[in-house]
Amino acid sequence: MVASVTSILEKYNKDKTRLMDILLEIQEAFGYISSEAVNEIARCCNISTVDVQQTISFYHFFTQKPTGKYTVYLNNSVVANMMGREQIKETFERETGTKFGQVSEDGLFGLFDTSCIGMNDQEPSAIINGKVFTNLTPFRVKELVRGMREGKDVEELMVEGYGDGNNGNKLVRSMVMNNIRRKGPILDDNYTPGIVIWKKLPTMTPEQVIAEVKASNIKGRGGAGFPTGLKWEFCRRAKGDRKFIFCNADEGEPGTFKDRVILTERPKLLFEGMVIAAYAVGATEGILYVRHEYKYLQKHLESILQGARERNLLGKDIGGIKGFNFDIRIQFGAGAYVCGEESALIESAEGKRGEPRDRPPFPVEKGYLDYPTVVNNVETLCAVVKVMLNGGEWYRSFGTQDSTGTKLLSVSGDCKYPGVYEVEWGFSVYDILGMVGATPDVQAVQVGGPSGTLLAPVEFRRILGYEDLATGGSIIIFGKHRDLLKDVVLNFTEFFIDESCGSCSTCRIMPVVLRNKLLKILNGKGVIKDIDDMLEWAKVLKASRCGLGQTAANPIVSSIKNFRHLYEQRVRMDTDFDSGFNLAESVKDYIEASGRVIVE
C-alpha cells in the first residue's frame, strides 16, 4: 500500500500545500486514509502527523477507516426531507441491514448523512462512490442495493439514462438534470467561447478592463455583494511577485445549485471570465475550487481546460497578447460548507483545515500563499464576460439602479418547476412564485438559504436585490402543510452546528444552545421568555469571525420575527420562567461519589 501512497506523493512533489490533492487521491484509491499513509505523508512532506490528521478530520469526505465497498452519502437538506428522504433512509437501512453512520460488518455498505449536495431540484438524492443518484424512490433503492449485492459497478447501477445537456456527455455520464427554466445573458446559447480574449483584450489595457467592469456596477454573486471592479482594482494595486485568481465553486449554501449548472453547461464562459480577471489584475495563476460533491464533473472540466490551452486561450501569450501568461488548475474540496468563505477556501487550497482567517488583511492583499488573490463566484466571472462583450452600460440596462444585471436563482421546494432561472434583479418574490408554479397556499419562502431570511406571505412583494433581499440565489418554497419550526428551522440550525469550523467559541457553542432551546419549545416545555432569550443570544453570534457564525441564528431570528405565533402556540403560558433545573438532582452524583453526609 505504501508504494502507491509514495507515487501519489511524488506526483505532487511532496508539496505540503498540495495536501488536499494528496489526501483526495489516497481516499479515492484506498477508500480511506490509513495511519501508515498519514505517517508516510508526514514524513515526505516534512510536516507532523498531527498536521495531516487535523486536515483529514476537518473534511467530511476524508475518513481514517474504510467506508464500505459502496459508500452512500444521503443528502439531509430540508428539501430532501420534504421529498421523502426518511423513507429512502429506512429502505437503505432495511435492505443493507446497516444503520446510517455505520459500515456493514462484511464491509460491503457504508451509509452516511451529508449536508446539501446541490441537487435540491431533484431530491431525494445521494452520492454513491462519487456518482450522484437523484430522485430516489424506495423501489429504486431496493434495486440499487440488489445491484450492489451482485457486485455491479456504480456505472452499471445507473439504469435511468443520463441527464440533459452535458450531463450525457461521455466525460460526465451523470443522471443529474440541469433543469434550466429561464435564460438571460449568462445562460444565453449565443456565445462564442474566446471572443473577448481574441477581440477585446488585445485592444484594451488592464485599467480599461477594470474601468469597464466598474461601469457595469456588477457586484459579487457569492453572497457578500462586494463590487467586482473595485476588488480587481485593489488586487491590481497590491504588491506581489505572483497574483492569483480564484473561482469559488464551493456552492455549499443549502438550496443553491446554479453554479453546478454553469460548470456543466458554460464552463468555457467561466474560464474566459477567469482569464479576463487575470488580465485585469496581472495574475499568472488561477484556481477553480470546486466542492467535492461535483467531482463527477472533473474530467469534463479538465478537458475544457485542455482545449483552451490548445486554442491559446490559456498558457503563454494568451490571445496573442505578448507576455500575458495564465493557467488554471482545479482544486477539489472534501466536504465542508465553510470552505465557501473566501479565506477558508484559500486555506483549504493550501492543504489546511478550512478555517476562515481573521481579517484584515483581505485576500486581495494577502491571499493564497500570502500573494494577492481575487476570489470571485462562478456566476460573477461569467457575467463579467458579457460585460466585456457588450459594455458596462449595456449591462446596467438589466436589473435595478443598485443591483445591475441578472441573477441565477436556484428554486426548489413546493413548486411545479424547480430548477435554475435567470432573472433580472428587481424580481419580486411574488413574481417568482408565479413563474415557478408554486401552489396558491405557500406558507413561507426561504430566500438566500439558511443564512438568509424566512419570508411570510405579507412580505412576498419584496424584491431581490442588494437594496432589499440580497441573495446568492437560493429560493426554497414551503407549502401550508409544512411544519416550519420542526422541518425547516431545526434542520437549518443543525446544519450550522455541523458545519461550524469550531474556531470561535460563539459559533461552536451558541447554535447548540439555541438548538436545545428550540427543542425545549418543540417538546412543549418552553416558556415565553425562551423566545426572547433566543433573540437576545442571537446577538452574541454577531461576535463571530466569519459569516457562518454571524448568520447561524438567522433561521431562528427570522422565523421568530415573521412567524412568532408558531412559537407562541407551542410554549407554556402558565409560568414565566422555568429552566427545569433541580439542585438536588444535579448534586446526586457528587454525593454518591464522595459519600458526603447531607445535614438537612
Binding site: S505, T506, W537, A543, S579, L583, V587, E592
Partner: protein, 182 residues
C-alpha cells in the same frame, strides 16, 4: 435621582471578566461618580446590604454555592447581566460536561499521577465545601437573565457602553469591532 446600585460576582469564572471591568482605565473614576457598588469583589462587600439595580455575573455555575449566590443575585437585582463566555455558555469549565462527574472526581482526587498524599482515597466531602454539580450550567439555565455581553472577557469598552446604556436607559451601540473577540 439617587445613584444606581451595582453588584457583581464571579461564579465559575477566572476573574478575567472582573479584570476587564477594571480595564476601563481612568473611566473608573467616572464610573464611581455614576454608580454605587454594593456586594462585589471590587469593594469586598460580602453581603447584600440593599436592593440593587444591576447585577453583573461572571462565570457559569459549577457547584451548589454558585447556584445559591446566583439565586441571591436574582432576588436582589432588578436587572441581571451575564458577562462573558462562561456566564453565557459555560465556557472553559464546561469542557467537563461530556464526562460524568464521578469520573472527573475520581480522576482529580484518586487516579491522577499528581495525587500523592491522599492515602485514604477520599473525595472531599466536608459539609462546609460546596457540592459539585453534574455539569457546568450557563446562568440562564438557573435563573432568568436579562442581558448577555459576549466576550472572553468582553472588552472594557463593551462593558462600559452596556452599563452606561442600562443606566441611562438608552439602546446600546455595539459595533462589530467592539464585540468581536478573537
Amino acid at each position: 435621582m439617587s445613584k444606581p446600585v451595582i453588584a457583581t460576582t464571579s461564579l465559575a469564572g477566572c476573574f478575567g471578566c472582573h479584570m476587564s471591568i477594571l480595564d476601563i482605565d481612568e473611566k473608573i473614576l467616572d464610573l464611581i461618580e455614576l454608580v454605587e457598588f454594593n456586594k462585589s469583589p471590587i469593594d469586598d462587600i460580602k453581603h447584600f446590604t440593599k436592593q440593587c439595580d444591576i447585577g453583573l455575573i461572571e462565570g457559569g455555575c459549577c457547584n451548589s454555592e454558585n447556584i445559591h449566590v446566583l439565586r441571591e443575585f436574582r432576588e436582589h437585582c432588578k436587572i441581571l447581566v451575564s458577562v462573558g463566555e462562561c456566564a453565557i455558555m459555560g465556557g472553559l469549565p464546561a469542557f467537563r460536561n461530556g464526562i460524568p462527574v464521578k469520573e472527573c472526581l475520581r480522576e482529580a482526587y484518586l487516579l491522577s499521577p499528581s495525587v500523592q498524599a491522599n492515602h485514604e482515597y477520599i473525595i472531599p466531602n466536608d459539609e462546609d465545601i460546596p457540592m459539585i454539580l453534574d455539569k457546568v450550567y450557563p446562568c440562564h439555565e438557573i435563573v432568568k437573565i436579562d442581558y448577555f455581553l459576549p466576550g472572553c472577557p468582553p472588552r472594557a469598552e463593551l462593558i462600559w457602553e452596556a452599563l452606561v446604556a442600562l443606566i441611562k436607559n438608552r439602546p446600546m451601540d455595539l459595533p462589530y469591532e467592539v464585540i468581536k473577540f478573537d
